[in-house]
């Protein structure tokens, strides 16, 4: 049976008229599965769980209350995303420049590779104690952790990107007497753009993780992460999930948005 479905799907892609039926069947299946999950969740908590645990009905009830009447939610959202945004801007600039330099000057690549790889491999949580030691338990420590999290993937991506520049382009530019600056702006940066986008996808995911980790461990401030933590600890799981879903939406928006840009503008680009 499963085989038939797979076949139908491939036909659908190649423009078979059966596609409409397939889509209709698919959305019914989606609905049924979703309802099953929600009902099982609701019943499981009602029968086996505790009162404070989140349920679908509870979350829907909490939704307007949290979004409209929670005085701490929107300032927290603002605080958290301001840090993420600032951190990402700095990381994109620093990481891209670092990676391009490493890609163009092989000596720098060898000299900096152990640092980029080492920082990439170190769990962010492990460096947070050092950062708080230096900067204190405040927003600048959060900011620093976001940068620590987001620079290595950006640097690696733009390093890969600038290494993938076709040598032929560089040779042509050279033989027409292009200046170093023109090579950078005209060839190096455009050729690395899809890599940079893929790197940005990774970096933004890590930045979101970093901001949550930092807020959890620093414990001061009023960001969205610590707000979720406090709600969960006060056994308001429904409200906590509503607040958390804002973080999820941001992650989804960044991941899917970037993915779509890459697919549309650079269909040849495949990165494992």
């Amino acid at each position: 049976m499963a085989v038939a479905i797979v076949d139908e799907k491939t036909k659908n892609r190649s423009g078979n008229p059966a596609g409409g039926v397939y889509r209709w069947k698919n959305s019914i299946a989606w609905l049924v599965t979703t309802l099953t999950i929600l009902i099982v969740w609701q019943l499981a908590v009602n029968f086996f769980g505790r009162d404070y645990m989140a349920t679908p009905v509870g979350i829907i009830n909490a939704l307007p209350d949290v979004l409209l009447n929670d005085p701490k939610l929107w300032p927290g959202v603002w605080e958290t995303f301001a840090v993420v945004l600032r951190g990402l801007i700095v990381s994109v600039v620093v990481g891209t420049v670092l990676g391009l330099m490493m890609g163009r000057v092989s000596f720098l690549a060898d000299a900096l590779a152990p640092y980029v790889n080492g920082f990439y491999a170190t769990p962010m949580i492990a460096v947070l104690p050092i950062i708080t030691l230096w900067l204190g338990f405040n927003t600048s420590a959060t900011f620093a952790l976001v940068i620590f999290a987001a620079v290595p993937p950006m640097a690696v991506a733009s390093w890969d990107g600038s290494r993938s520049i076709p040598t032929r382009y560089l040779e042509v530019a050279e033989s027409f007497g292009a200046r170093r600056r023109d090579v950078w702006i005209g060839i190096a940066i455009p050729a690395s753009l899809p890599y940079l986008l893929a790197g940005f996808r990774l970096a933004s995911g890590r930045a979101l993780s970093a901001v949550v980790i930092a807020e959890f461990l620093i414990g001061t401030g009023n960001g969205l992460g610590i707000h979720v933590m406090r709600l969960a600890q006060n056994l308001k799981h429904n409200e906590a999930i509503v607040a958390l879903s804002i973080l999820t939406l941001a992650g989804l928006f960044l991941a899917i948005g970037v993915e779509r840009i890459i697919r549309r503008r650079y269909p040849w680009f495949r990165k494992s």
Binding site: T10, A29, N117, G118, L133, I213
Partner: protein, 276 residues
């Protein structure tokens, strides 16, 4: 023109060269430069670290490299350190095993049974983009402290990359192979064993590689935020006591472990890709 994938610096230099002879020289030259650049890079970093620790910063904020090495040596001879490492490793292995097995199973289900898959996949994606650390307060207030809540967190970290890449892998199984299997009357179980699982493996292993790296992060996160144990506890203690030499040494161990774990993951992936 189609841009090729990742090229190493040796590749770039050899494409510049015209004859085979100069090509060889190019490769050799780049290898020698590799060591030189690496040594100089690490040397400058090390000297800066040592000097700034010795002359610029207060000791409670920054320990010079030499003291970190001494601390590293002391750690490597202390039973506390090895016990902590063993504890963390045990947590990693438990969480990683659970996360990988569940991820593979659910990934195959989602990829193979298209009707259920479509719906489940959207939920998996939504949970995947949620920072996994954010699950810790929920796990903490429902399950409290102990070993298993931590193992659950670690497997949560591992599960999603494995599941998502497995789904991709199952979907990438060539329909022609499936048709052949079907027309020769292969049973569903046989088809899975001989067609679906072998051709999914390389994809799944790329997920396992990511899972290894994330699971390592999960271990430290769980040990930090749930009840403290293992390396997480060590890091916490050293930072509270302002023992920067021990703290830096422990973080250095984390970096080395992280690099090892990444290399290990890449090795697994490569093995399965060639096996295909």
């Amino acid at each position: 023109m189609k841009v090729k994938g990742i090229q190493t610096s040796a590749d770039l230099e050899s494409t510049d060269a015209t004859s085979l002879n100069t090509k060889d020289q190019g490769v050799r030259k780049s290898r020698r430069k590799f060591h030189l650049g690496l040594i100089i890079g690490l040397g400058i970093g090390g000297i800066l670290w040592e000097l700034s620790g010795r002359f610029y910063f207060e000791r409670i904020f920054f320990a010079p490299l030499s003291e970190v090495f001494v601390a590293l040596f002391n750690l490597s001879t202390s039973a506390t350190f090895w016990n902590a490492l063993a504890q963390s490793l045990q947590l990693f292995v438990t969480g990683f095993t659970i996360g990988t097995i569940l991820g593979l199973i659910l990934g195959i289900i989602i990829g193979r049974i298209a009707l259920i898959g479509g719906a489940l996949e959207s939920y998996v994606t939504v949970l995947y983009v949620t920072p996994p650390i954010a699950m810790i307060p929920f796990v903490l207030s429902i399950l409290g402290f102990g070993y298993w809540p931590k193992a659950i967190i670690v497997s949560w970290f591992v599960f999603f990359p494995v599941c998502i890449t497995t789904v991709e892998g199952v979907r990438a199984v060539s329909p022609r192979l499936l048709e052949v299997a079907r027309s020769f009357g292969s049973s569903e179980a046989r088809t899975w064993r001989d067609v679906v699982i072998p051709s999914t493996m390389p994809f799944a292993m790329s997920g396992v590689r990511q899972g290894v790296a994330l699971g390592f992060v999960g271990v430290i996160a769980a040990e930090f935020l749930l009840d403290a144990s293992g390396i997480g506890l060590l890091l916490r203690t050293y930072s509270r006591l302002y023992q920067t030499d021990n703290l830096f040494a422990a973080v250095l161990v984390m970096t080395i472990l992280g690099l090892t774990v990444m290399t290990f993951g890449r090795w697994i992936e490569k093995r399965f890709v060639t096996w295909r």
